[in-house]
């Protein structure tokens, strides 16, 4: 029963969130200096004033804001997100192809930063104050203060330009026919963006895991375990991992928003054809439909991460699970 109620309330929250995000994005775009008409026909258009007025009338650009938002909302609900001015394709198609690229990038970076960060965090926590711990902490704080695009540029300079190990950008080799592109080409192009995004996202999970491990090691139940003859290895595998893994996974899921932001910056540095570059292009071209579409889709993405984090906590932590079952 409780479960059903949770699903219902989460769905309701999602709907309210999406409505608010889209409304806010809509208002911001309408109030911005973007003129949809100019974006559409270009500044050097030879169209007559009557023709322009006709387009304005047809699009309903003179209607009051709530009415325009309502029209847009109704269309969205019918699956019509409009047409992208930049790509001359339906927004939904642009998002689909672009998102596929970005998801691969984000998920790889997410998994690597999560697994690697967790392991490193555990080691740092156990060897708190040691040499490795200090180095890693310094590294994490540095990386956390550095902007993602700067990290990307540094990786480009070192690995692509100086060492020539990786291509300098894009998702496939230039000048190759689509039919000739192999999976290895794609992977080769993915490596630097993935590394950049992994490094940009790793510090949080490392520092968090480290802090938790330090807290756990100083707790009473570790003293008790020691008094009962458990050795260092048994304490780590039986107690430390058990108590740190769940919050770490939860943190990693709720970090989808940082991941998304980092992805947008990294894609621009590497000219990777994902959602991030599409956002920049849409913004530069005054592509209102695409911007709105991306705003919606990013909200769904981030919300999903948080939702998974919430559910995981309820399912895996016995203290929450059992108290809800009552």
């Amino acid at each position: 029963m409780i479960k059903k109620k949770n699903v219902l309330s989460e769905t309701l929250r999602m709907i309210i969130l999406l409505f608010l995000v889209s409304f806010l994005a809509f208002v911001l775009i309408v109030k911005s200096p973007i003129d949809p008409l100019v974006s559409y026909i270009g500044t050097e258009s030879t169209l007559s004033q009557e023709a322009k007025d006709e387009i304005v009338e047809y699009w309903g650009l003179n209607d009051p804001l709530p009415e325009r938002f309502a029209t847009w909302l109704v269309n969205i609900l019918h699956g019509d997100m409009g047409t992208s001015i930049t790509y001359k394709k339906p927004v939904i198609d642009v998002i689909k192809t672009r998102f596929a690229y970005s998801v691969v990038l984000m998920m790889l970076a997410w998994a690597f930063s999560g697994i690697l960060g967790f392991i490193v965090g555990i080691i740092c926590g156990i060897r708190q104050g040691g040499f490795f711990d200090r180095i890693i902490k310094l590294f994490c704080l540095t990386v956390k203060s550095a902007p993602t695009f700067w990290l990307g540029l540094m990786f480009l300079v070192i690995f692509a330009v100086e060492l020539g190990l990786f291509p300098i950008g894009m998702a496939v080799p230039m000048g190759k026919l689509a039919s000739q592109v192999t999976i290895w080409d794609r992977l080769h192009h993915l490596i630097l963006p993935v590394i950049t995004l992994t490094v940009a996202n790793i510090s949080e999970i490392v520092l968090y895991t480290r802090q938790r491990v330090v807290e756990i090691i100083n707790s009473d139940f570790i003293l008790y375990a020691r008094a009962r003859g458990e050795n260092e290895k048994q304490i780590i595998t039986r107690h430390v991992l058990r108590n740190v893994i769940l919050p770490a996974i939860t943190l990693q899921f709720s970090s989808f928003s940082e991941l998304f932001g980092g992805m947008a910056l990294a894609e621009n540095v590497f000219a990777y054809p994902g959602i991030g570059t599409a956002t920049t292009a849409a913004a530069l071209n005054g592509d209102a439909p695409l911007l709105l579409g991306i705003a919606l889709i990013s909200a769904v993405f981030v919300f999903t991460g948080n939702l998974i984090a919430n559910i995981l906590y309820g399912v895996c932590d016995p203290r929450i699970r059992e108290s809800e079952a009552k």
Partner: protein, 306 residues
């Protein structure tokens, strides 16, 4: 003469910590030349007021002191010092620990698995669960689901898993009603009657007098007097140290008579006798370090005791 199990000789525990407001480290001595021994088949209760550092004694024996602790003196088990190597052989097997509360259990590990520990077997756990009236499905519960009495019995089963010869119980009764506290102490009594040595650390002298064979009075980081239970039951005249006498006087059944002052803080101890500032009988002899003396089958650190 019974076999000696635990012997603590001149134990000193100090914490090195930063002096408040400065970057200078200072050593804060919290336990000063403490001596105590526990024989097979007896319960020795260490009694002292809350916050006087009694628990540090248990931590010192079990090598659980934090990294900034410096220790001196000697702790032997069955005549041999407890070294790091020997510790592996003893802890969880021959030497068991009963902690204060359920907080000492891993909150995310099922009770059964924790009771079993790393050395126990499932059969032994089953046997102990039925002996201590714990239902079999308790093993699938998490610590937060245990009631106070259940938690207590779980901690006891955990301790006796390895059939220990020495049990150290640190405040095993607070938060329990009288009946449950009695039950816990009865368990301790039966361990001792079966030949184990029990070191009971508590602030509750009434309960201690119920089960203990000998009582050690803890004051300001050392043990000022060790005496058979009968001396405590006989009243303050049978006791040796002025603090023990005052302790007895301050009990509810003896009229709640307090003495002025409070226990000195570890950082500002008086020279010589630690009870100096509050003692009604103080004189020049008290300013020297008080050595342990044997008087009437008890031990005391007071120049005037008789």
């Amino acid at each position: 003469m019974k076999e000696n199990i635990l012997k603590i000789e001149d134990l000193v525990v100090a914490f090195s910590m930063y002096k408040s407001g400065t970057f200078k480290k200072e050593k804060l001595e919290v336990i000063h030349s403490l001596s105590l021994d526990v024989d097979a088949g007896e319960i020795v209760a260490v009694v002292g007021s809350s916050g006087s550092g009694k628990s540090i004694l248990a931590s010192a024996v079990l090598n659980l002191l934090p990294g900034n602790a410096v220790t001196g003196g000697k702790i032997t088990y069955k005549g041999k010092e407890i070294t790091k190597e020997r510790q592996k052989e003893l802890f969880g097997k021959e030497i068991a620990f009963i902690p204060q509360s359920v907080d000492y259990l891993d909150p995310l590990m099922k009770v059964g698995k924790q009771v079993q520990g790393v050395f126990g077997t499932d059969e032994r756990r089953k046997e102990l669960f039925s002996k201590y009236r714990l239902e079999e499905d308790t093993k699938n519960k998490y610590p937060f689901q245990l009631s106070g009495g259940m938690a207590r019995r779980v901690l006891i089963t955990g301790a006796v898993m390895g059939k220990p010869d020495l049990i150290i119980a640190d405040e095993p009764t607070p938060g329990l009603d009288l009946e449950m506290a009695k039950e816990t102490l009865d368990h301790l009594r039966s361990f001792a009657d079966n030949g184990a040595a029990v070191l009971l650390i508590t602030h509750d002298i009434d309960l201690a007098l119920n089960v203990a064979d000998r009582v050690a009075v803890f004051y300001a980081g050392t043990i000022v007097e060790v005496a058979p239970k009968s001396d405590f039951l006989a009243g303050k005249d049978a006791l040796r140290h002025p603090y023990s006498k005052a302790f007895i006087d301050a009990l509810p059944q003896n009229g709640f008579k307090p003495i002025p002052g409070s226990q000195p803080y570890a950082g500002s101890l008086p020279k010589g006798c630690l009870f100096l500032d509050r003692c009604p009988y103080k004189d020049d002899a008290c300013t020297a370090e008080q050595a342990e003396r044997e008087i009437r089958s008890g031990k005391v650190r007071c120049a005037h005791a008789s």
